[in-house]
């Protein structure tokens, strides 16, 4: 059993910089958790505290029920993959893989068996005799993964391992890591600034900003029910559109309106919004939940197309609704449309999010 429990975890750098603030998180045994957030949000620091590479300013870390606050990294039974691979440049791939086991005084025959198994899983057999600098980025990262699995640790930690790879390789390695986790189920913490990686890899996604956890949930929950405007805007690509609207009640229906649009709100959002009548709120709608055309007249509004991005599988539209920019995704690629066109957009029912303009917390979704 190797659950990780972070309680009231804090990290200060000097008196000015509070990098990690009261982080509470429970990661179940064999769970894959992705920490995601913009750079400087404290996700890497949190990971490095779990690894023991950073001191803990306050709080507690437990791995497998044992408090590890004061244990050096070598006694925590963890393995880590770094952004720049961090392979030992002066050793062959075989020695890189064997390094951790040799430190544990594992007999050489067992080491060989372990490396064989890891090489099998990751397809490293032809590379074993080479030096790291003779390998491509993708191969180096596979070796780094191999170095983790031969040790058979309690926990895998990933510190932005795919950031240095090109887009195509990144997608491949993502699948490889996912497959690896299925083959060798081990508690894993994966740090990334790329929400696509977080969504695709994580059993659960932890969204962080400014040293705090904003939301923890399954990828679907984080995407579908963001708890605040930050999470809503950070998760999902292209990013969610935000429009300032005022809530009114017209003929028994709750409507969100601004000088340029008027949208009827359905239940259950409308119930929560009753209390906000006459007040301004921020309305969020994802680009993929907007459709071109009238739809239901009560939900549609006018927009002016500014940029048309043809992706082959779909068209992305950048449009303007009053002063606000609104992105529309999933427009059928054959649609005849050009910059400057006037169109009508309508939101799919039940796909509107409303946020308190002050606290930015969600009111209704």
């Amino acid at each position: 059993m190797a659950a990780i429990v972070l309680s009231k975890l804090n990290k200060h750098y000097g008196s000015l910089h509070h990098a990690v603030k009261d982080v509470d998180l429970e990661i179940a045994d064999k769970e894959f958790v992705a920490l995601v957030g913009p750079s400087g949000c404290g996700k890497s620091t949190t990971l490095r505290m779990i690894a023991g590479l950073e001191d803990i300013s306050g709080g507690e870390i437990r791995i497998g029920g044992k408090v590890v606050n004061n244990l050096p990294p070598r006694d925590r039974d963890i393995a880590m993959v770094f952004q720049n691979y961090a392979l030992y440049q002066h050793m062959s791939v075989y020695d890189n893989l064997a390094f951790g086991l040799r430190n544990k005084k594992v007999p050489e025959s067992e080491i060989k068996a372990g490396i064989d198994r890891a090489a099998e899983i990751l397809g490293l057999h032809e590379l074993l005799k080479r030096k790291p600098r003779q390998l491509s980025g993708g191969q180096q990262q596979r070796v780094a993964l191999g170095r983790c699995i031969v040790r058979n640790p309690l926990v895998f930690l990933f510190d932005e391992p795919l950031s240095n790879l090109d887009a195509k390789l990144r997608a491949q390695m993502r699948i490889e890591i996912k497959r690896l986790h299925a083959q060798v189920p081990t508690t894993s913490v994966f740090v990334t600034h790329d929400q696509v990686e977080a969504m695709t890899l994580g059993d659960r996604v932890v969204v962080m900003r400014d040293g705090r956890i904003h939301q923890v949930g399954t990828p679907l929950a984080v995407y579908g029910k963001p708890v605040n405007k930050f999470v809503a805007g950070f998760i999902g690509a292209p990013a969610m559109n935000f429009l300032e609207v005022t809530i009114r009640k017209e003929a028994g229906t709750v409507v969100a309106e601004s000088p340029v649009l008027k949208v009827a709100v359905t239940e259950p959002s409308s119930v929560a919004l009753e209390a906000w009548q006459g007040r301004r709120v921020i309305m969020g709608v994802r680009p993929e939940h907007l459709v071109l055309g009238e739809g239901l007249l009560s939900r549609s509004f006018a927009a002016k197309v500014e940029v048309v991005e043809q992706l082959g599988s779909e068209i992305l539209l950048e449009s303007r609704v009053g002063d606000a920019r609104v992105t529309v995704a999933r427009v059928p690629p054959e649609t005849a449309i050009a910059a400057g066109d006037q169109v009508r957009l309508s939101a799919q029912p039940g796909r509107l999010h409303f946020f308190d303009p002050e606290s930015e917390n969600v009111i209704a979704a």
């Binding site: 690894a51 050096p72 070598r74 925590r76 720049n84 392979l87 030992y88 002066h90 951790g100 430190n103």
Partner: protein, 278 residues
């Protein structure tokens, strides 16, 4: 509007002309540096009487080398200089490498105090150390001994080369050591087994620089050594006597002193270049 720049004279020349000009410049620079050495070698091969008349005579002899090689004190000086250079290099590297590593990787009062200390020592003009060192050496009774000349050299190396070493380690990614810490190493283990092997080109470069520094050093050797531990640079200068200047002998000694330094620079060059490039 974009500025259209006239191509410079050099760029307007035909390829052959450019090559010729480049070659001439190269030759001129090489000649500038090589001329004193060539003159030195030439002088060492002249008979004593011909030293002042190089442009006239065509007589060459190895007599100066023979004479110098019979001087027991000079042979001893060669041995001493080689020993002191080697020992100073070894002992100073032991400190320099770890102190450079500390300066590169650790922040905190210990590191910043050390940083400040060697910074101050580095700023003090080298020549102003010599007289105090003489008194210290006298009062400790280590004047004109191996240890008396070795210690100052080690100190100078540490102050000067810790900085270089820090630069080298700054260029080595620390995540490799972090990986080693996770893989079961202690902090020292990560330093010795992972950081050090990666720094070998840099350490080799530093070793060459250290060795050459001590081998060529004159001032400490002049003030801190006497008859018991003669050093090459000092003995060489002692051909200036009341009886006159023995240029041919001095040149012969200098040529001989040049050889080890030259060989070291020649074979160490690729490490120096690779090391300084990190």
């Amino acid at each position: 509007m974009a500025m259209v720049r006239e191509p410079l004279l050099f760029a307007r020349l035909p390829v052959g002309g450019r090559r010729l000009l480049f070659g001439m410049a190269l030759f001129a620079i090489c000649f500038l540096f090589a001329f004193p050495v060539l003159w030195l070698i030439l002088t060492s091969l002249r008979p004593e009487s011909g030293v002042y008349y190089v442009h006239r005579g065509t007589e060459f002899t190895l007599a100066s080398f023979v004479e110098v090689l019979q001087d027991e004190r000079l042979l001893q000086a060669f041995f001493n200089s080689a020993m002191i250079s080697t020992l100073a290099t070894i002992f100073s590297l032991l400190v320099t490498v770890s102190s450079g590593y500390m300066l590169s990787r650790f922040k905190g009062p210990a590191a910043s105090t050390w940083f400040g200390t060697i910074y101050v020592f580095r700023c003090v003009p080298y020549i102003s150390w010599v007289i105090p060192l003489y008194f210290v050496a006298q009062s400790w009774g280590i004047y004109d001994t191996y240890i008396g000349i070795l210690l100052p050299h080690i100190a100078v190396h540490i102050c000067f080369f810790s900085w270089l070493m820090k630069g080298f380690f700054d260029g080595i990614d620390p995540s490799m050591e972090h990986a080693a810490l996770i893989d079961g190493c202690t902090r020292w283990g990560a330093f010795i087994r992972v950081a050090l092997p990666s720094a070998i080109p840099a350490i080799s470069a530093l070793a060459v620089l250290c060795w050459l520094f001590t081998w060529n050093e004159f001032l400490f050797a002049l003030i801190l050594t006497g008859n018991k531990v003669p050093m090459v640079t000092v003995v060489m200068a002692q051909f200036v006597t009341e009886m006159g200047l023995r240029w041919n002998l001095m040149a012969a000694t200098a040529v001989m002193a040049l050889v080890p330094a030259f060989l070291l620079a020649l074979f160490g060059q690729k490490y120096v270049i690779r090391g300084l490039r990190i």
